[in-house]
């Protein structure tokens, strides 16, 4: 059991591309350095500790989360959408909660993936929980089980739109056909 577990932990590491690891490493190191900068308010001395820590964090991050491809434009596109949708989600849920009649008709729905397994699916699953009326309840390779607050609403198209955004973020092509 242990060995299999460990294999699972490491199987995602792609040994083929050292360069991609380095590149990602640099990027993440910069990201972490930025974080450090934010935390410490940019005091110069702090890099005495910050340097090693960022290095350590980067290594941990690389080991734990192998590089994946993504696109900057994708991020730029998804952020405003996400912000808006999640704000809307909040308003939506607040409305339902505060409404005297509690207008909900919850149910489960299995949404078939067009995204490939791995990081994109997980990202999507997390996002779904923050979108209006939906909550990811189970993640399988083929489908995402979504709990919806209002079955009557059009949440399916919403999901598929978001899926497109996510696909673009990870620079992926969606499986064309989702029967």
């Amino acid at each position: 059991m242990h060995t299999s577990e460990r294999k699972k932990c490491f199987k995602l590491i792609p040994y083929d591309s050292l360069i991609s690891i380095l590149w990602t490493g640099c990027l993440r190191a910069m990201l972490f350095a930025l974080t450090w900068f934010l935390l410490t308010d940019g005091v110069m001395d702090s890099w005495l500790i910050g340097g090693p820590v960022v290095l350590l964090a980067t290594i941990a991050s690389i080991v734990l989360l192998p590089p994946f491809s993504w696109s900057f434009i994708g991020i730029m596109r998804i952020v405003p959408v996400f912000l808006w949708r999640s704000l809307y989600a909040g308003i939506d849920v607040a409305r339902r909660a505060l409404h005297p009649r509690l207008p909900i008709s919850p149910g489960l729905y299995q949404y078939r993936w067009r995204l490939p397994p791995g990081v994109p699916q997980i990202f999507m699953a997390n996002m779904v929980s923050l979108l209006p009326g939906t909550l990811s309840a189970e993640l399988a390779d083929e489908y995402l089980c979504v709990h919806v607050l209002d079955q009557t609403g059009d949440f399916i198209s919403e999901l598929s739109i978001i899926e497109d955004y996510v696909a673009r973020l990870f620079a992926l092509n969606l499986i064309a056909d989702r029967s």
Partner: protein, 332 residues
Amino acid sequence: MEAMTSLPLMTLMQLLFDTLLGFALLWLGWRALASPDLFQAIVLFIAFGLLMAIVWVRLDAPDVALAEAAIGAGLTGALLLTTLARLEAKNRSKSALEKKHKVWLMTENVKLKTASFLWLMVILMLLVSGLVYAVLTLQEQTFELQMLVSKNLESSGVSNPVTAVLLNFRGYDTLLEMSVLLLALLGVWSFGGIPKPHESLPGPVLNMLSRLLIPLLIIVAGYFLWVGSDAPGGAFQGGSVLGAAGVLLLLVGWRLCIRFVGLPLRIILVFGLGVFVSAAVVLIFLGRQFMEYPPSVAGALILLIEAAATLSIGITLAALFLVGRPEFRRHK
């Protein structure tokens, strides 16, 4: 705060806030101890920890708030939940016993006789009134020690007075306290290895979460370590954040530690204490007192000690979370 107090409304608001918080604390404490369901009690206790942290904030004790938030609210809660799970797992596996002690999850108020209950009440009332009286009649605070702290802050090597007290002025306490931590781990280990809980594989979401959080936790731990010297923070806060990272790894089912569970792990565990003691002892050979850090290098020295301590504390806390000794034989 000086400016604010002039505003009566502010004072009133503070009073309101404090009263609410105080009552909330008492109520939570009472419920946590009296609720019929243990799980509920633990959740309430976690909430209690959160409120405590807010209280520390309110009392202008950010260092304590950090420690409470990290250790009290985070790790203790996780530890309690895990223990509860273990206990229940055992409960289930022994159905005969379960029958016998079916009620063990319920509150088992020992049936006190009315008389002894009254006595207890009387004693507790006495305690309360005595304490309150004592507290309320306390004279004005003496600031001698506080003055001393701020006067010597210069030569302590750090500018956060709490850190100065913890690691320099009263470093000996801290040294002993780290021993307590290590000792607790030893004690836990000495109870023998505890079989691994039967657990399923982590789902991908959890997996991802931990993978994202851990580097972040490492950075934050480093941050607290660094910031400790002139702002609230320090080895314990950093260490507990690091410990949280370790706990997270353990929770996700990460078992890399099997590889170095023997000597390397133990070396890391005593590393902090070791550095602390060696620094202190080396100073003796340099003709100074035990733990007397020369002001010129005190800052660096404290940072060094704290770095080592952070590492050790983090790993120790994570190891404590296992609530048992990792098996030794595996790596043979």
